[in-house]
């Protein structure tokens, strides 16, 4: 990386190391930076340029963000990875995006519905110091107003959903706090997209990973997927 530099060569003003008093050629004023220091600084600068360019140009997968963070560009611009939102989330639903989820978004907040669901308490947006998570109308969001906050939409994978394959489960419909999952005549859950605000309770309770652990993978039968429009 930064070249430590080949030896700087004999200094014409060499004098005894440690000898006090005036050095020849020195007026006592400050030295300019050394060649080695310049190389190190240049190396760091070049690395920052490459890093910034790579991260900005490389695509990143859309992630489900905490409420108030649906403007992804604003979130990526404003997030300094302080971790306050992750720390304050009392349902532990917020986590840090991993490097594998995109370089530019590493350590930014993402929802981890396997750990908890969102109750739109608004604490994350309150503690965010830079407005990467913007405040939203908490009361309206908790009442189910999708325009106040919407993290994404629940999407059912009928191939692995227990209800759709064995008619033996309706947990998501039962637990949905906003009545956004109804049961068809034959008892299979269907997501009502207009009512879904992406709170993640369905994903959190879905038992597919434990009851179908033989199929491998980490995706449950119902998952919240990010919407592409700004919230």
């Amino acid at each position: 990386m930064a070249a430590e530099g080949s030896g700087a060569g004999a200094d014409a003003c060499r004098d005894d190391a440690g000898a006090p008093g005036a050095r020849r050629g020195e007026t006592g004023g400050p030295l300019a930076i050394s060649r080695r220091g310049l190389f190190a600084a240049a190396g760091v600068s070049a690395s920052l340029l490459v890093l910034g360019g790579t991260a900005a140009l490389a695509g990143h997968e859309q992630q489900v963000r905490p409420p108030g963070g649906q403007d992804v560009r604003g979130l990526l611009a404003g997030c300094n990875h302080c971790g306050r939102c992750v720390s304050v989330c009392h349902t532990r639903a917020i986590g840090f995006a991993s490097l594998t989820e995109g370089l530019i978004g590493v350590r930014t907040p993402v929802m981890r519905f396997s750990l908890g669901s969102c109750d739109f308490c608004g604490d994350c947006a309150t503690v965010c110091p830079t407005g990467a998570l913007r405040p939203f109308d908490v009361a309206a969001a908790q009442a189910g107003d999708v325009s106040a906050a919407c993290l994404g939409k629940a999407v059912l994978d009928e191939r692995i959903c227990l209800a759709w394959t064995f008619s033996s489960c309706n947990l998501c419909s039962e637990k949905c706090p906003y009545g956004a999952i109804e049961l068809s005549e034959t008892g299979q859950p269907v997501v009502l997209e207009a009512a879904c605000n992406g709170c993640g309770v369905c994903e959190n309770v879905c038992p597919v990973l434990s009851l179908r652990s033989y199929i491998g993978g980490s995706d449950r039968a119902i998952r919240v997927l990010p919407s592409t429009e700004e919230g």
Binding site: A8, D15, G18, A40, G78, C85, V106, R107
Partner: protein, 305 residues
């Protein structure tokens, strides 16, 4: 080596010498512990990048600048954070570097080369001082180590402006230390196994081993603090000319300079660091052969007569 006849009890001297080092270790560990506990207990405390209670938060000033520049917006919390950081630099100089920042401790853990060893190696290699590459083109008032640090700060802000996100924060060693801690906490608490828990510490090690003089010559946070620590007049190390072996007895002693992680030469002013780069670590006083230093606080009393 004590021509003045200044004698110290060996045991008293040793324990006194290490006192400040131990104190610094304690404060740094305390800071880290508080943040980790804050995460575990869901308090919303944060990290050194930004921490606080509720909607009140302090922030790293470089991060504050970056986020405002990236978002092209002026925000209240970052703005106040910068003002607080500037005030801290004026009152405490760069004391953050020695007493709060986890990087010096991390460097000690990952490499046996300290920053002052790197400066000493430079001195040996090129005679007394490194050849000045831009000697004629130095900017007035800026010189030595802070020139490169401010250059890195400039590039940090410029890349943030160009690419629209805080670029430096991705690789900042301070941020990476917290990222590693948080990743480990989440691994233990949630079995969250991600490659990050290996990548972050690897990156830290790479940075601190390759860029050995990070703190004094490259860190943009230190560079920003250094801009305002020029105004700091408290807790400055001062040499008592009557006791110093160099000034009073003409001896060739370099102990305080050799001990300084910021390469400040208080006696001969031949180091690449300047007085306002001082991080108040007390190592110079601890290593003085003639113990001629006033403890940093006493310098104030002396000036006051």
């Amino acid at each position: 080596m004590n021509p003045q006849g200044v004698q110290r009890e060996a045991s008293e001297g040793t324990s006194n010498r290490k006192r400040f080092r131990r104190l610094r270790l304690l404060t740094v560990l305390l800071v880290l512990a508080v943040y980790v506990i804050g995460l575990v207990l869901n308090t919303g405390l944060g990290s050194l990048s930004a921490f606080g209670v509720g909607s009140i938060a302090a922030m790293c000033p470089v991060g504050a600048l970056e986020t405002m520049i990236a978002g092209r917006i002026v925000l209240p919390v970052p703005l106040i954070a910068i003002a607080v950081a500037v005030a801290a630099a004026v009152f405490f100089g760069r004391a953050f570097c020695s007493w709060v920042c986890p990087v010096p401790l991390t460097r000690k853990l990952v490499t046996n080369k300290s920053e002052r060893d790197a400066f000493a190696a430079d001195r040996k290699k090129s005679g007394s001082f490194a050849k000045a590459f831009l000697r004629q083109r130095q900017w007035p008032g800026l010189g030595r180590n802070e020139t490169t640090a401010l250059g890195v700060l400039g590039v940090t802000l410029a890349t943030t402006l160009a690419f629209g996100f805080p670029v430096f924060c991705l690789v900042c060693p301070i941020g990476l230390v917290f990222a590693t801690l948080f990743a480990v906490v989440r691994l233990i608490a949630f079995n969250e196994l991600v490659i990050d828990v290996l990548v972050f510490p690897t990156l830290i090690v790479l940075e601190l081993v390759v860029l050995r003089k990070w703190c004094a010559t490259l860190c943009p946070v230190g560079g920003l603090l250094g801009l305002f620590s020029r105004l700091n007049k408290t807790w400055l190390p001062a040499v008592d000319g009557e006791k110093c072996l160099v000034t009073s007895a003409g001896a060739s002693c370099d102990a305080c300079h050799a001990a300084c992680n910021s390469d400040i030469d208080l006696v001969g002013n031949r180091g690449t660091g300047q007085l306002h780069d001082c991080t108040k670590c007390h190592a110079c006083a601890d290593h003085c052969d003639a113990r001629d230093f006033f403890p940093l606080a006493e310098a104030e009393r002396r000036k006051g007569g």
